[in-house]
Amino acid sequence: MEFKIRAAAKEDCEEIFRMIMELAVFENMPDQVKISHRELENHGFGPNPLFECLVAEVPQEEKSKEGNGIGKGLLSKVAEVAKTQQCARLQLSVLDWNTPSRDFYSAKGAQDLTVSEGWHLIRFDGENLDNLAKEAPKDGR
């Protein structure tokens, strides 16, 4: 299957958001998506981008078919961008029940640090984040 990988443009945000929702549905957490494609447009394509993004496209005649090698192509391109920025690591999180994805990343050389070293991902959000911030000392800057 022929496909192209390129840097995302502002015009891609609606389609990217469609796929963000599809991924969230797959992860069984669609209600957790709190942003819209507008935030993606503003946050990714304004004067100070907060993220970078790649898209994979197939030719018109191949639309809506299963592809092979596209996920790998995207991941490789991210790794290539990382190398040009002298990054030492690429990190991500994956759900424990998501065996196909865990196998995919393992095959590409990713180490599961939760399993091998016991790292746990911890998060503050909502009220807990607000409460934590309120306790910051006032002096200094």
Binding site: M29, K34, I35, K77, R89, T114, I122, N128
Partner: protein, 171 residues
Amino acid sequence: TGLNHLTETSQKPNLPWELAEYEKVTDLVKIGQKDLEQDGFSNTPFFRGVIAEVPEDQKSKDGHVKVGYALYFFSYSSWKGRCVYLEDLYVMPEFRGKGIGKALMSKVAQLGLEVGCTQMNFIVLNWNKSSLEFYTRQGCIDITEKLGYHWMSCGENALKKLANSDPVDES
């Protein structure tokens, strides 16, 4: 309790090395002071830092007034938007139990909220019970425990291999 002030800093002490000693992984520290200076304080900083300082008369046994730090950077959640990633949080052993760690963490949370972040994420070793308890007391969630997310990492070799394989670039 003697905590002078938290300042965003233009100089980095040797604290990341001490943190690596605590985590028992000093041979894994591949960068040096120069890398920190370059990566944190050039035109496109890859991280930001907050330092905890004590007054001169309360300095450490070996004469340090900079006794703790937090190293963080801004990241992005495709579900929630802007977030903060807390990479390091460290207080020298003789200054623990005085609220300095909490103050550092709160400062990073505050700085994050100021720019619209809705999440602060970090990782903790599962054997580090005292840290896990500290964080739980502040109200955070163990995403690995609760939702089943595993933290994955591609190191330098895997990254090289991935970057060099199957060129499909058409930019």
